[in-house]
């Protein structure tokens, strides 16, 4: 639909994320216990671990929804631990949610537009008139989203459909689209392929790789689908009981005995082949 299509949008450079000694506590329960995590610019880093290992807690602490007990979160070396969640969006930190967090009453297009909210400036009076600057801003936003996001993720057939009626896989994709509209420098994906079938999973994996390659964005993801993690990640970090038990390349992690033990419940049988296969997370 859009007349011109440029493949590689010009974007701010990918960000580096450093998490040090991060601890989080709910009541008496330690959800995170001093974890370290280093995400290289332009990499795809996966955070894995059995259920209850603290992956989502770590995500929530990094995106600012939980205030950590100790530790620091640094974006490109700048400490953002005290920055409120909504302001991290402006710094280039975007995320998706484990249970899809789209705005159900809106269309796909409006959901994606919302991703850019923090970057727009028009105010309430402009909104009433919808004239001049506001109109211009909205038009530019529309054109950019069409070009960079909708075409890119092939969502043009559903742009005016309310998200509530979309199938699960597409909703996940719309959430990714909304995160992309935020012009992220680091994209945090919480279980991007959970509940998807093989075909949808591959589609999403390809989209993630494309995002990294064409947008030059750093990607940090939490995922249970081991096959997909091993396929696309540059770096894998493994959590168990709120502690980091391993980190390294997919191959290194795959052969790490602690990881195998964590996943197989210490049965003593190092069936590491299992780690090559499909979803592992449900084992633990």
């Amino acid at each position: 639909m859009s007349p011109s299509h440029s493949a590689a949008p010009v974007r701010p450079p990918a960000a580096r994320l450093d998490v040090e000694n991060l601890s989080l506590q709910f009541g008496g329960v330690k959800a995170l216990d001093g974890i370290d995590l280093h995400v290289e610019p332009g990499s795809i880093t996966a955070l894995i671990g059995p259920n209850g290992a603290g992956k989502t807690s770590a995500f929530n602490a990094i995106s600012g929804f939980y205030r950590p007990k100790t530790g620091t979160v640094k974006l490109d070396g700048v400490d953002i631990t005290q920055v409120p969640a909504r302001d991290r969006a402006k710094l280039g930190l975007a995320r998706t949610f484990q249970n899809i967090a789209l705005f159900r009453g809106m269309t796909v297009l409006d959901n994606i537009k919302l991703g850019r909210h923090a970057h727009l400036t028009s105010g309430v009076f402009g909104a009433f008139l919808y004239w001049g600057k506001t109109r211009r801003e909205e038009m530019e936003l529309r054109a950019e989203i069409e070009r960079d996001v909708i075409d890119f993720l092939e969502l043009d057939h559903i742009r005016n459909v309310p998200v509530a009626i979309l199938p699960y896989g597409l909703q996940k994709k719309v959430e990714l689209a909304r995160a992309l509209a935020m012009r992220p420098r680091i994209l945090m994906l919480d279980e991007p392929v959970a509940g998807m079938n093989r075909e949808e999973t591959e589609d999403m994996a390809r989209a993630i790789l494309d995002v990294r390659d064409e947008w030059g964005v750093t990607v940090l993801l939490v995922e249970h689908d081991m096959g997909m993690v091993m396929d696309i990640s540059d770096h894998v970090c493994v959590l168990n009981f709120g502690r980091r038990i391993a980190a390294g390349s997919p191959t290194e992690v795959r052969n790490n005995p602690d990881v195998i033990k964590a996943y197989l419940g210490g049965s003593g049988d190092p069936r590491k082949a299992a780690l090559d296969g499909a979803a592992m997370g449900e084992v633990a």
């Binding site: 929530n60 929804f65 949610f97 484990q98 249970n99 967090a101």
Partner: protein, 294 residues
């Protein structure tokens, strides 16, 4: 004019008497909230319809009190159950705002029904409470205040016993804590919903009979519900203990304000308290603080 100590004592006791009726109505509200998580804006109107049904039996049909009261409570239970089945249940899965607005619609319907059947004219209930006043030395307590306090206190004692020991009460508490878990141990959760609305309607009707016997009944008496909101917000929406304590407190406060500042300040005082509590302690004095989830 000088404020005499005995004035304060008398006003306080009268206020606590009214407060006990607020507390009782507050408990009806809490029962519904605990079981179904519905904020029932129509609680004052449920009280009103109870009072009018009682009027129908005792004045309209001239039945004796010992027959009118149980009949009223039975009718109230039916009304409560009907409301739950027809208006609340279909929306329970929706967002809480919809159900809340349904109860707003319910206020309008109940007022309309009462005015249709009994007209908007104020009426008096037949006298059934003893009329000689209660005197503690110099301190004078109007008889209706004293006796309605005794009845309200007894009703609440029964309710608390029921909640603590009877199976149905325990099922209600279990449902309040965790619907899924309650269901998995064999509790009939929809049954608990119906039961809670029926029980609340019965309690509200009892409060209505008492409130009506003290000050007469009219289609505007649902305004009593306004003070009850303040009670449950201050006490905590899901706390029976909170409703008790806050009820007595708000009743006392309104009486004191009315006595020493003037009746026009009563609502102002209670609603100011409400705002302060909302801002300082949004979950009330004894309410459960619900943890926000993503």
């Amino acid at each position: 004019m000088a404020v005499e100590f005995i004035d304060i004592v008398e006003t306080s006791l009268a206020g606590i008497g009214t407060g006990s009726l607020m507390a009782l109505t507050g408990v009806a509200f809490v029962i519904i909230y605990k079981a179904t998580k519905v904020i029932n804006l129509a609680i004052g109107e449920m009280l009103m319809i109870g009072a009018f049904v009682f009027y129908g039996f005792s004045a309209g049909l001239s039945l004796p009190i010992w027959a009118s009261v149980p009949l009223t409570l039975a009718v109230a239970a039916v009304i409560g159950g009907l409301i739950e089945r027809t208006m609340i249940r279909p929306l329970l899965k929706d967002n809480p705002v919809s159900v809340f607005m349904v109860t707003i619609g319910l206020t309008s319907v109940l007022i309309g029904v009462v005015e249709l059947v009994w007209s908007a004219e104020p009426r008096r209930l037949p006298e059934f409470l003893p009329s000689q006043p209660v005197l503690f030395g110099e301190v004078f307590i109007p008889s209706k205040t004293a006796y309605s306090f005794v009845i309200a206190a007894a009703a609440m004692a029964v309710l608390i016993t029921v909640f603590s020991f009877w199976r149905g009460g325990i099922a209600l508490r279990a449902t309040a804590t965790d619907r899924a878990a309650a269901s998995s141990v064999g509790i009939d959760v929809p049954g608990v919903f119906s039961f809670s609305w029926m029980l609340a309607a019965v309690v509200a009707a009892l409060a209505g009979i008492l409130v009506g016997s003290v000050g007469g009944i009219s289609s505007a008496m649902g305004l009593f519900g306004l003070s009850v909101f303040v009670v449950v917000i201050v006490g905590g929406l899901d706390s029976i203990l909170g409703a008790l304590i806050a009820g007595l407190f708000i009743g006392w406060l309104e009486a004191m304000v009315g006595r020493f500042m003037g009746g026009e300040f009563k609502l102002l005082a209670t609603f100011t308290i409400l705002l302060v509590v909302l801002v300082v302690r949004p979950y009330g004095l004894f309410g459960t603080h619900e943890i926000e989830r993503l």
